[in-house]
Symmetry: C2
Subunit: 113 residues, 2 copies
Amino acid sequence: MPRSATTSDVFNAIAEPRRREILDVLIAGEKAVGSIVDDVSLSQPQVSKHLRVLSEVGLVRCRAEGRRRLYSLEPAQLRPMHDWLAKYEQALAERLDRMDDYLKELQRQGDTQ
Amino acid sequence: MPRSATTSDVFNAIAEPRRREILDVLIAGEKAVGSIVDDVSLSQPQVSKHLRVLSEVGLVRCRAEGRRRLYSLEPAQLRPMHDWLAKYEQALAERLDRMDDYLKELQRQGDTQ
DNA sequence: ATCTTATATTCCTGTATCGGAATATGTCAA
DNA sequence: TTGACATATTCCGATACAGGAATATAAGAT
C-alpha cells in the first residue's frame, strides 16, 4: 500500500511545501493563477496542479472572471488540523502543570525540613 | 522529483494517519512499543517503522528500560505547525472583521436613507 | 547455553506523486 | 477567422514510501 493520496485529507494536502507556499501567498487575498506563478517559483502547470489538489480538499475556492481564474483561501477547512493540534497543546499544558506541581511539592518539602 | 520525504519535516511526518494515531495514543503518556501495538491495529514492525519516522522529526523521544523501549511525546516539536496555522486563523479573523465592518457599513447606510 | 520475549531492520512490490514538456481548452481582441 | 493570452490537462520518468514477511538484535528467564 502506497502513501495516502495527497487529496485524502488536509494533512496530506499541506504536507507539500509548495502547496503551503501557495496558501501563504493567498493570505493576502484572492489572486489569479498568473499572479501566484509570479510569487512562487513554479511553472504555471505546476501551480495549476497544486491548486487542483488544494481545491479538492476545500482549502481554496475558485471564481472565474473572464479568462482568468481567481483563487481564494477557505481557511475554515483548516479546522481539522487546528482541532488535532489543540489536543497536544492541552496535553503539553497538563504536562507542564504536573511538572509545576512537582516542583512546588519539592519546594514545599524543602521548606518544612 | 518524488514527494517530500516523510522525515523532511513535521508536516510530512504527520500526514500519515497511522502516525497521527500513534501520537494520539501517546497523549496518555509514555508507552512501550508493545502497548502501542495493542492500541492501534498495526503490526509490530509497522509501529516500529512509524516510530522511527516520528523520532527522526523529533516528535517522540525514546528511553530504554530493560528490553523494552518507552516512547513519549515531544509536543514542542509541533510548534512549526502551530505557528503556520496561526497565520491563517489571524487571516480568517481579519477577513471576518472586514466582513463585519462591511455589514455595519451597509446597516449604517440603510439607517441614513 | 538455551529459550522466550521485545523491538528493530531488511527485502520486496505496487502505487501515487512531483516536475517537465507538450498540448488542450477557453476567452478576449482585431 | 485568426491570433494572443490565461489556465488546465495529459503523458512521461524517477523516486520514496507503506505494508507484509522474514530476519536480526538484544535482554530476561530457566
